[in-house]
Symmetry: C2
Subunit: 461 residues, 2 copies
Amino acid sequence: MSQRVADHLATQIEAIIGRLGQYVACASVSADPAFENGMAAARDFLMARLAGMGMENVQLLDGGGHKAVYADWMHAPGKPTLIVYGHYDVQPPDPLDAWESEPFVLTQRGDRLYGRGASDNKGSSTIALESLAAYLQIEGGFPFNVRCLFEGEEEVGAPSLPAIFERYADLIKGDLVLSADGGRNGFWPAINVGCRGVNALEVTLRTSAVRDLHSGRYGGTTRNALHDMAHLLASLHDAEGRVMVEGFLPEAARPTEQQRRHSAELAMDEDAFFASFGGVAHGYPDYTAIERLTLMPTLEINGMWGGYTGPGSKTVIPNAAHAKITIRLIAGQDPRETAAAVIRHLEAHAPEGTRLEIRSDRGGAPAYSLGEESPLVVAADRVLREITGKTPVRVRSGGTSPITATIRDHLGIDTLMFGFSLPADGVHAPNESYAITSIREGVTCWPLMLTELGRIWNQSQ
Amino acid sequence: MSQRVADHLATQIEAIIGRLGQYVACASVSADPAFENGMAAARDFLMARLAGMGMENVQLLDGGGHKAVYADWMHAPGKPTLIVYGHYDVQPPDPLDAWESEPFVLTQRGDRLYGRGASDNKGSSTIALESLAAYLQIEGGFPFNVRCLFEGEEEVGAPSLPAIFERYADLIKGDLVLSADGGRNGFWPAINVGCRGVNALEVTLRTSAVRDLHSGRYGGTTRNALHDMAHLLASLHDAEGRVMVEGFLPEAARPTEQQRRHSAELAMDEDAFFASFGGVAHGYPDYTAIERLTLMPTLEINGMWGGYTGPGSKTVIPNAAHAKITIRLIAGQDPRETAAAVIRHLEAHAPEGTRLEIRSDRGGAPAYSLGEESPLVVAADRVLREITGKTPVRVRSGGTSPITATIRDHLGIDTLMFGFSLPADGVHAPNESYAITSIREGVTCWPLMLTELGRIWNQSQ
C-alpha cells in the first residue's frame, strides 16, 4: 500500500530539497555556543514541521544540554511503538576557506547538494520526516504508534541524552528504533546489523624509586619504568597480533558461521583496502581483514609515553611510564568484564617492584548487534530486495555507535540504522554533500519500510 | 721532600681561604651571557695568580667560546710534562632565594665555606694552585715540566675544548693530566680509576600506513606502531635485566677479577643505597649493585612516546612511535661498534611491514680507565697510604666524564681526577659549600702527589 506514498514522494523531490535547504540554513553547530541561534532555529524548524504534518504532543525535552525535539502519534492502541531517531546538530563548518559555497546555504552543483549537514544528519532526517508526513497524509495513519526524537548533541557525544531518557521515561518508550542517522557503506543493498563496542583504560606503571634517576649514578642497578612498560605492553599481543589476555575473548563470542558467511558475501577487496591507507595486513591470522575489522575484538595501545621526549638526549631512568588503551568489543564481551580481564593481565605481568595505577573513566559501550529475526532486519531485507532486485548483504561496523548502545542501555530495545549517507558525501569535512539520488532512494525505501515493518511486526505480536 | 711544602701550606689556611674568597667573588657563570664580566674577572684572577707564583707564558686560549687560561713551567728539559687541569666557570646560582648567604660571597658557617663554586671547581682548583705556588716557592722548581689549563666551559659541556686542543696543539701537549676537578665519593682514601662511556640513539618506528588510523575503521586489520615499538623495546632486555643484544658485551670486556675485588673492597651497603632513592635491585643477576653500576654496561630507554598522550581517550592507531636510548659503556666496548650492534638488533627485530629511522647524533665517549701501572695511580696510592695510614680503594664512576675522554681523544694521555669535593658539598645546588678540612687535606696531598709522581715517573722513564 505504501507504494502510493513512495510514488507521491517521487513527485515532490524539488519541494523536499527546498525544505532541506531551510533546515540546512539553521546553522546548528552544537559544539560552539556562538551558534546558539542556529540551534534554536533548527528546533523551531523541526517543531513546526512535525506539528504541520499532524504529529502531536510536540515539545522540547531538556536534559541539561541542548534540548531534544519530541513528537508522537499514538493512535494505534494495542500496537507496538516505533521510535524514529535523528539529530539536528551538525559539525562546525571549519575550515571556512575550504568551502566552495556557503556552508549554510544548500547549493546544488551537478547531481549533489552541498552544505553542512546536507548529509549528516539533515539529509537523512529529511527523508524520515518527509516519509512520515506523506504517510500520514496519504494513508491517514501508521500501522503502529510512532514517537519522534531528534536530539541536538550527537556531534558532541550526546552527553545529556541519558538524562533525557531518565527525565522523560514516560514519553520515550517504545519497542524498536528506526534511526535516520548512520549511512550506507557503499554496499547496496546492505543492512547494518551491528557495530563493535568500546572501553578505555589509562595505565601508569611506577617503579618504587622516588624520582627519575641519573643513568650514570644509578644505571644498571635498579628498575627502569620504560623497560617495564615495554615488556608489559608487549605481553598483550603475540607477534601475529592475537590478544594474549586470558578471558579476553570467550570461545562463545567468536564469530558464528553465519556472520562469517555474511562477511564473505561482501567480497571485500583486501588489496584495495590496504592500498587506500598504505597499510599491510596484520592481526588474528585465521580471519580475513573484514572479519578482523567487524567480527573480532581488538586491544589497541592508542598512546604511550614516559621519560624525556624533548630534543637531544637526557640520561634519565624514568620512574613512571604511561599508556592509553582502548578495546573494541564484539557481542559476548562485556565491556567491564573485558576491561577487568585486561587489568588482571596487566597486574599479573607487571614486574615485582613496580606498581600500576589503572584508570577506566567510563563503563564503556557494549557491542551492538541486531538479530536476523528482528522485525527491523526482516522488514529492511524485504524492502531492499524489492527496490533493488538483489539480496541485501549484512554489514557490520568496526567502530562504535554510542547512540545505539545508549538506547539499548536505557530503553532495552533495538535500533536499525537506516540513514542514506554515502562515503562520498564527506560528512564532517568541508563541502559536505548529499546525492539527490540518495533522497530519491530514501523516500522510496522509508515508506515501504514503515509498511513492511507494520506487517511483519503485527504478525509477530 | 715536599713534606716541607705541605707543612708550609698548613700554616697558610687563612690566607688560602682569603684567596678562594676573591676567586668565588668572580661570578663566572658560563651558561648566562649576563655574567660575562664575572667570567673575565675569573680569568684575570687566574692569570695574575699564575704569573705571581712564577708560572710563565701566561695567556688566554681562544677556541671560539669562553677562553681558557694557560700557563707553563718548562724548566725540566728531558723530563715528562704534567698538565694540571681545572675549570673556572660555575653553575648558575638559581634559585637565588634558596641561598642562606650571597652566592658570590664566600661565607664561613661552622667548618664550611659557602658560595657558588666554593667546591666545584674553585675550591679544588685553589688546592692545585696553592700547591703549585708553594712548591715553586719552597722547592724552586718541579721534578717535571708543568702546564696549567683552566677552561671556562666545563659546566656547559666544554663545546670549544676540542677546538682549543687543535689550535694550541703546540702548547697543550704532555704525558699525564692531574685534574683538580672530580671529587671523592665518600670512600677515603680512594682513587678514581675509571668511568663508563656513553652513546645515544633516537629510534623512530613507522608502520607503512600513510597516517594515524581510526581504531573503529581499521582496528584489527593492520599494524599499530605502539604495539611494534613495545615488542621491539622489550626485546632489548630479558626479564632479569640482561641486555639481549648480540655483540653488545664482548666476553673480554667483562669485569676482571681484580676489578671485582676492588669493588668488593668498597663494601657498599646495598640496602642503604637502595633506600636512598626507594629503588629495588634489578639488573645483571650475577653482579652486585656496585659492579652493575661501575663495571657493567647498561642500555637504557630514557624516553618513549607515540600516539595520543593528552587527556581522555582518542581511538587512534598510530603509525609512528619513538624512543630515546642511551648506552653506558665499559672498557672494551667501542661506542660506535656498540651502537651499531644495537642498531643491528633493532633492525633485525623490527617486524616486517615497519621501518626504522635511527639517529645517533654523536660518536659517543668511550669508557675511561686508568691502569694500575699508571704513574698517576701508583703515586696516588702511595700518597694516600702515607696520609691516611690505610689502603686506598679503587673506585669507578657509573657516569661519564667527558673531559677525561676528550683529553684521551685529543692528547692520547691519561687523567687522574684528584679533586677534593665530597657529596655533602651540594655542588650545582643552592648553598654549595666546601669543608675547610678538604682544603687541609688537599694541600697536604697535592704537594706529596707532585713529589711522588716525579719520583715514580722519573724512575720509570
